[in-house]
Structures are given as structure tokens and as C-alpha cells.
């Protein structure tokens, strides 16, 4: 940063890290009056439509000729939509493919198959030159602010770099814009010529957010944006992200393992297991009336402060064993090896992600609320198989009820087994 006089702060010794900490601007939340987005605007147009997205990483053998001996099916046929200004939460345990999905959408990886339509244009096959303009619209926030910021660059040059690369503003306007951004994320604008190590963890995450905001993106992929932060700092960053969303109308794909954080932030949530979405619905359905046994187990495992403080704890659904290898996933339903209600059909036929409510899709043969799972598979009519999973002659797969990334106006009513409309 040669174009500005060093401020007294910049001249201070590197050891004085705490000075940056003291001068943090009070939470910017009060600047914006709006509260967290409570209800999704389901009429908004999708900004992102992901259809049957797959990412297989080859596994190579040892030896002279490194043959591909298998694939890690990190993401295997994932479909969903994110609407303008909305947030979709992607939850699941480590290795379920949620981070890979995020990296596919920001096109850090090239997908093996499937389409990623951003504002109606499929970007899944774009080369790096075609992607350049898109980098302005889709940005990413990473988990670990300490490793995702170049330690040798000042904060000003980190945040200003996208401006220079994309030549959005004349070079003499870069600094004012950087300072403006620092202020937006609640940092002292005078600190633009400091280095990342002079900031605390929470402040570094703010820098990461400022960098992502530089080009005024329409979609932010936030990959575990708060899990590396202290509890009290997490809330600051979540509030900041909510304010930014309300202020600038940014759509979020919010990837996290913390179910409570996702619930707080996202009106719509998708649960992933071993490379597939097992359930996707609006927040109240996922947390209030989950239909997939994995979602139910996941939720029951979350320690709950309030529950415990009032008395006792919820009954847990114990999942035995570990997540199987994504190189050689189980046949049929991938969750069946740990599922408390699995039957023969689950090994034979993969349950499709099927719409069972206005804003609710679930991939389970025995989808139902906890303790009310049906005795016979609910998917047979749609898939054209019998209760054991064998093909029924003449029966057809009803793709009108399946295979759509978004929600349809008709869905399968679980009680009647018949399609119903809204």
C-alpha cells in the first residue's frame, strides 16, 4: 500500500495485536433496523438451480501405470434451488459432500456431471475465461480465516484485489471502496494497511466477508463461516451476515454442521448424507417434523441447552457405527446400514428425493414423522416396484413427481399415497 500515508496504528510493533482488538467498531447491527429473515419469499425466482450434480474424485492405484481403481462419490446427484435473496442451508456430517457442493457451485471444481444454472445459464462446463465475469456474482467465504487470507498482503490489498482484477473502479477509487467495505463489516477503516495476523479470529472472518462483498455478489457460498470462531464471536458474524443479506439482497448457500446456526440463518434447509440430499424442506418442517430417519437422528443428537436446563434431555436416536466409505457406498439407500427402520427394499432400490409437501422433499421409502413411519414403503407407486423392491411389470417411474430441482405444484400425499395439488 504505497499510495497512502501510514497511520500511527500501522507503525505500531507487530506484537501489539490487541490494539486492533480494542478499536473494533461496535456491532454494526444497530445500523440496520431489519431483523433476520424469517419467512422465505417462495415466489422469488431461483438464482441458482442445481440439477443432478455429481462430483467423482478418481482413486488411483499404486504402481507404474496409475490406473483409476475407483471413485470417491463425493457428490452424487444433488438437486436444489436457491432463490434470489434467500438462504439455503446445507447440513450434514463431515464427508457428506456439503463442502464439495459449495466448491462446485463456485466452480473451484469442475463437476463430473449435472448442471449448475446461475440466473438461467448453465455454468457447469465453463472454462476459466468464461468464469471470470461470474466470479463477480458468486463469491465464497471460507471456514478458517487464518489460512484463507494471504499473510503477506495487507488487508487493503486483499479486499481491493478483486476490484483491481475486474477493473470495476478506477485505481484511485480502490482505497475509498476498501474503507467503505471495512466499515460495512464493522472494522476500523483506518486499518486497511494492517496485515491479517494483527487481527483476531473474528475480525479476520470479517475481512474474509469484506473480500467476498467487494464485487457485490448475488450469491455467497459460506462454507462453515463461523465454526472456527469463539462462541461470542460467532453471534457477531452471523448477525453481520444477516444484515448484509437484508441490505444487499444476497442469496446464501450456507454450509455448516451446526444445526442450530443453520436453523437460525436459513429459511430452507437441505440435509446431506454420503453425497446425496436425503431431505430438503423449509425450516419449520426440517426441525419440527422431519420425515427422514437420518434427519431425526441428527436432530436428536444435538445437545440442547434449554431442554437440559428445564429438566432432563431428549431421547436420543443412537446411530451405530460410522459413515460408510464414499468409494463403495451401500446399494439402494445409502443410509440403510445405520438406519433403525431399514428393510429389504432399502438395499434393493434407491429411494428418490420425492416431494411430499408444499415445501418438503424426502428420500426415504418409509418417510414419516418420528415414531409414525409407515409399515409399507410409500415410494412403490412412484417408482413402479412392489413392497420388496422388485419391478412390477408395466409399472412406470412417475418422473412428474420426481426429478425436478425445485418444488412442484403437485406432490405425493403420504397418507393417501396419491398425488395432490396445492
Amino acid at each position: 500500500m504505497s499510495h497512502a500515508e501510514p497511520t500511527p496504528a500501522a507503525e505500531s510493533a507487530p506484537g501489539e495485536q490487541s490494539s486492533a482488538a480494542e478499536e473494533i467498531i461496535p456491532d454494526p447491527g444497530h445500523v440496520f433496523e431489519a431483523h433476520g429473515q424469517s419467512e422465505a419469499d417462495f415466489s422469488a425466482k431461483p438464482i441458482l438451480t442445481v440439477d443432478n450434480l455429481k462430483m467423482y474424485f478418481p482413486v488411483k492405484s499404486a504402481g507404474i501405470i496409475r490406473r483409476t481403481i475407483g471413485h470417491v462419490q463425493a457428490v452424487d446427484g444433488v438437486s436444489f434451488e436457491v432463490r434470489k435473496g434467500d438462504s439455503l442451508g446445507l447440513v450434514g456430517e463431515s464427508g457428506c459432500g456439503k463442502s464439495t457442493t459449495g466448491r462446485l457451485i463456485t466452480r473451484l471444481y469442475k463437476p463430473t456431471a449435472g448442471s449448475i444454472a446461475f440466473e438461467g445459464t448453465d455454468i457447469s462446463g465453463y472454462g476459466s475465461r468464461q468464469l471470470l465475469p461470474l466470479r463477480r456474482d458468486i463469491q465464497m467465504i471460507f471456514q478458517d480465516p487464518a489460512t484463507s487470507l494471504n499473510p503477506r498482503h495487507t488487508v487493503g490489498s486483499i479486499i481491493g484485489a478483486p476490484l483491481r482484477i475486474h477493473q470495476v473502479v478506477p485505481s484511485d477509487k480502490v482505497l475509498p471502496r476498501v474503507q467503505e467495505l471495512l466499515e460495512v463489516v464493522g472494522l476500523n477503516p483506518e486499518h486497511y494497511n494492517r496485515y491479517p495476523h494483527e487481527f483476531s479470529g473474528g475480525q479476520r472472518q470479517r475481512i474474509g466477508i469484506a473480500r467476498a462483498l467487494t464485487l457485490q455478489p448475488k450469491l455467497l457460498v459460506a462454507d462453515e463461516p463461523v465454526s472456527a470462531l469463539d462462541v461470542s464471536i460467532q453471534a457477531q458474524v452471523i448477525n453481520l451476515l444477516q444484515d448484509l443479506q437484508n441490505e444487499f439482497g444476497i442469496a446464501f448457500l450456507f454450509i455448516a454442521h451446526d444445526l442450530a446456526v443453520v436453523r437460525h440463518f436459513c429459511p430452507e434447509v437441505a440435509v446431506m448424507y454420503l453425497g446425496k440430499i436425503v431431505e430438503i424442506a423449509d425450516r419449520d418442517t426440517i426441525y419440527g417434523a422431519p420425515h427422514h430417519p437420518y434427519t431425526q437422528a441428527l436432530l436428536s443428537a444435538v445437545p440442547d441447552v434449554r431442554q437440559a436446563s428445564i429438566g432432563g434431555r431428549r431421547e436420543r436416536i443412537r446411530l451405530e457405527g460410522d459413515v460408510p466409505s464414499p468409494i463403495n457406498p451401500p446399494s439402494g439407500c445409502r443410509f440403510r446400514t445405520r438406519c433403525p427402520i431399514a428393510r429389504d427394499i432399502c438395499a434393493r432400490v434407491e429411494p428418490p428425493l420425492m416431494q411430499v409437501g408444499k415445501r418438503h422433499k424426502v428420500a426415504c421409502h418409509f418417510a414419516g414423522e418420528l415414531g409414525q413411519h409407515p409399515a409399507t414403503p410409500v415410494t412403490t407407486g412412484v417408482l413402479g416396484v412392489d413392497d420388496e423392491g422388485h419391478d412390477v411389470a408395466g409399472a412406470q417411474r412417475r418422473s412428474d413427481l420426481l426429478d425436478h430441482p425445485g418444488y412442484q405444484d403437485t406432490w405425493l400425499d403420504l397418507k393417501t399415497g396419491q398425488p395432490v395439488g396445492s
Binding site: A21, H35, G201, D230, V302, V305, S309
Partner: protein, 372 residues
């Protein structure tokens, strides 16, 4: 100290010793680290008691001194430049006054520890069985074969399938959850009276975390050990701990029975912790109330109450008290063992009228109706 050396079978140890002294009693523990920049006051005047079969949760953010205090109980600061004062009475013996060699003999036998990241906490070059068996052999004069058999037995006990085969695996061949199980097996192999678990589930997925917490509780019942669980996750504390100790800037700021701390906290920092975590069942309309600012530097902690620069209730205390005077740990208005370090005169009113309605309106209403 003969009971640990003999059989692994659980013994019935009275929760209180005849003298009325608790199993573990930490008195005015102080741990300071002199550095070139000054003295890092990691822990300052920490006191707590713990009986066998009970669990204490220590909660705090990074740099609050919670990990330092626990590794001091294990004597891991010996051989460093740390200045340690106070008393750590385990079963009547002051662990700070015994020799290094005596402390070493207790380490792993009377006090064991499990760590946050089980992958880095296990040596990558040795098999799981080797490392677990080693913990047994160092305190028992047994053959390698016997130690291996004991390791298999412990792996089986912590729920590792096919333990006789997995005992020869290396840590990297285990999944995260299995590694933490193996660490627990290593910690409990000598049937220690006290187990310190430093963020035991932070690196794990939520379903695995549930498995590990269940396992710890089962084993605690079986071995009747005292457990100190160090965490930043209030949910974990809520499920595991009988008592909670909240640490801030190296000091205890609130200490008491878990239920009281979670339902009637009387210290603004505890309020902040509770209000900044979203709840899986909470109201999504409500906004998170973060604690402003950053955790303080232990090199140069704020004057008076260390929390005052981040405290929202400064104006309720007359004068400049919060900035100038460090509040004492005083009994909370709820009585009992509940203590808090705060100048607020009526913290229970502030909590009920200002804080609770903001973070959990439905609870605030509930609380008001029955009392009416």
C-alpha cells in the same frame, strides 16, 4: 494409592472422604507464564471441588485459561517456566507439592486426560494397541502380551468392533469417532479416579459427539470416576455436567449447579454466552445477541472486572466500580453453592426483566405466570 494398581473392577469409593474432604479440591490455583512481553496470567485464583462420580463442566472461550488449569492438575506444566501457586488436593494429597517423579507416577494412573483432536493426540507411527498398552505397562509390571490383552479389553469396552483386529491398526486407519473412543480407552485403562476431558467432542460430528458423550457417562457410572469436561459448548455442559464453572480471562466468574447456571445465571458474561448461541428449538425471529468486542488479552487484562469492556450492564453499577475494582466471588441470590463475580446488586432482576425476554421470550412468560 493402592486401589488403582490392583484390579480394574470398579470399587465403591465413598463420595466424600471420612474427613469430609472432597475427592478433588482445587484451592486458589494460579498459573502464570512469564514471557518476553510480560506475564501471561492464564489462571488466577481458581477454586472448585469435585466428588467421585460427579462431573464438572468448565466453560469459556479460547484464552480463558480453562485448558491451562486442567493440564496443571495433570502436572503437565512441570519443567516449563510456568509459575504455579495454590493447592490441588487429590484424595488428600497436594499434587503441587509432590516431586516430579511422584507426579509422573500418578499421571495416567490417578488422573488421566483426553484431548480435543484424537488424530493429533495419537502418535502416527505406533499402532493404537501399542499406545494404549503402553499406558498400562508404565503403571503395571506386566508383559507386552498382557498389556495387549488389556488394550483389547478396553477397546471392546469403549465399543470398537472387532477389537482384537483393530488393536493392530494405526490411528489414521480409525475414523474420528473411533479415535476418540481409543483415547478414552487409553485414559481409562488404569481406572483413574479423575478424568479430564479437554474439548472431547469439538472435532467430532454431532451424531458421533452424542455417542462419545453417552459413552463417557456410561463409563463414569461404571468406574465411579470424577470427570472434568472442558468445553465451549453449553449444550455439552447441559447434558454432562453436575456443576458448571464459567471462566473469563483466567478467573472463575460464575460457579454452581448446572441447572441453576443455565436457568438463573447471575453474571453478564454467562448471559452473553447463553444469548449468543442459537437454539435448535428457539425462536427464529429473535436476533442473536452477541457479546461485543473480543476476548481479552491475558497479558494485559482489563482493570477491575475483566469483562467490563464488553459488558452491557455497566451503567447499572454505581460509580466506576466495574472499571476499578475486581468483584469478589460472592454467593448468588439463589443461594446454595452458586457463586458469581459481579458488582450488580440484583442480577436476578436484570436477567428476568431484560435478558431472558430478549433471548427466550417464551421462557420469560412461562416464568412470570407460575410465580404470579
Amino acid at each position: 494409592m493402592t486401589h488403582a494398581a490392583s484390579s480394574p473392577a470398579p470399587e465403591t469409593v465413598p463420595q466424600q472422604r471420612p474427613s469430609g474432604q472432597p475427592f478433588l479440591s482445587v484451592r486458589d490455583l494460579l498459573v502464570h507464564f512469564p514471557t518476553v512481553d510480560g506475564v501471561v496470567k492464564a489462571t488466577d485464583g481458581l477454586s472448585f471441588d469435585l466428588a467421585r462420580g460427579k462431573t464438572l463442566g468448565i466453560v469459556g472461550e479460547s484464552g480463558s485459561g480453562k485448558s491451562v488449569s486442567s493440564s496443571t492438575i495433570l502436572g503437565l506444566q512441570r519443567g516449563t517456566r510456568a509459575i504455579v501457586k495454590g493447592e490441588i488436593l487429590l484424595d488428600g494429597t497436594d499434587l503441587l507439592s509432590i516431586s516430579d517423579e511422584q507426579m509422573r507416577l500418578r499421571r495416567g494412573r490417578d488422573v488421566a486426560m483426553i484431548f480435543q483432536d484424537p488424530l493429533s493426540a495419537m502418535h502416527p507411527y505406533y499402532t493404537v494397541g501399542n499406545q494404549i498398552g503402553e499406558a498400562y505397562m508404565v503403571h503395571h509390571d506386566v508383559s507386552k502380551k498382557a498389556a495387549r490383552a488389556r488394550a483389547i479389553e478396553m477397546l471392546d469396552r469403549v465399543g470398537i468392533p472387532q477389537p482384537d483386529r483393530r488393536v493392530d491398526d494405526y490411528p489414521h486407519q480409525f475414523s474420528g469417532g473411533m479415535r476418540q473412543r481409543a483415547m478414552i480407552a487409553m485414559g481409562l485403562i488404569n481406572d483413574p479416579g479423575l478424568l479430564i476431558a479437554d474439548e472431547p467432542t469439538t472435532a467430532l460430528d454431532v451424531t458421533v459427539q452424542a455417542q462419545i458423550l453417552d459413552l463417557l457417562q456410561d463409563l463414569q457410572r461404571e468406574f465411579n470416576s470424577a470427570i472434568i469436561i472442558i468445553t465451549h459448548d453449553l449444550g455439552v455442559v447441559a447434558e454432562m455436567a453436575d456443576d458448571v464453572l464459567v471462566m473469563y480471562a483466567g478467573r472463575c466468574v460464575e460457579y454452581g449447579p448446572t441447572k441453576e447456571i443455565l436457568t438463573q445465571p447471575q453474571m453478564p458474561y454467562t448471559w452473553g454466552l447463553l444469548s449468543s448461541v442459537p437454539d435448535v428449538a428457539g425462536d427464529t425471529e429473535s436476533r442473536l445477541v452477541p457479546i461485543p468486542g473480543n476476548p481479552p488479552s491475558l497479558l494485559n487484562p482489563p482493570s477491575g472486572c475483566a469483562f467490563h469492556p464488553r459488558c452491557a450492564h455497566l451503567d447499572k453499577v454505581p460509580g466506576n466500580l466495574c472499571r476499578t475494582d475486581l468483584p469478589d466471588l460472592t454467593p448468588a441470590t439463589t443461594g446454595g453453592n452458586h457463586v458469581k463475580r459481579c458488582h450488580l446488586v440484583h442480577p436476578e432482576d436484570v436477567w428476568a426483566k431484560e435478558v431472558l425476554p430478549e433471548i427466550a421470550p417464551e421462557l420469560a412468560e412461562q416464568n412470570q405466570e407460575p410465580t404470579a
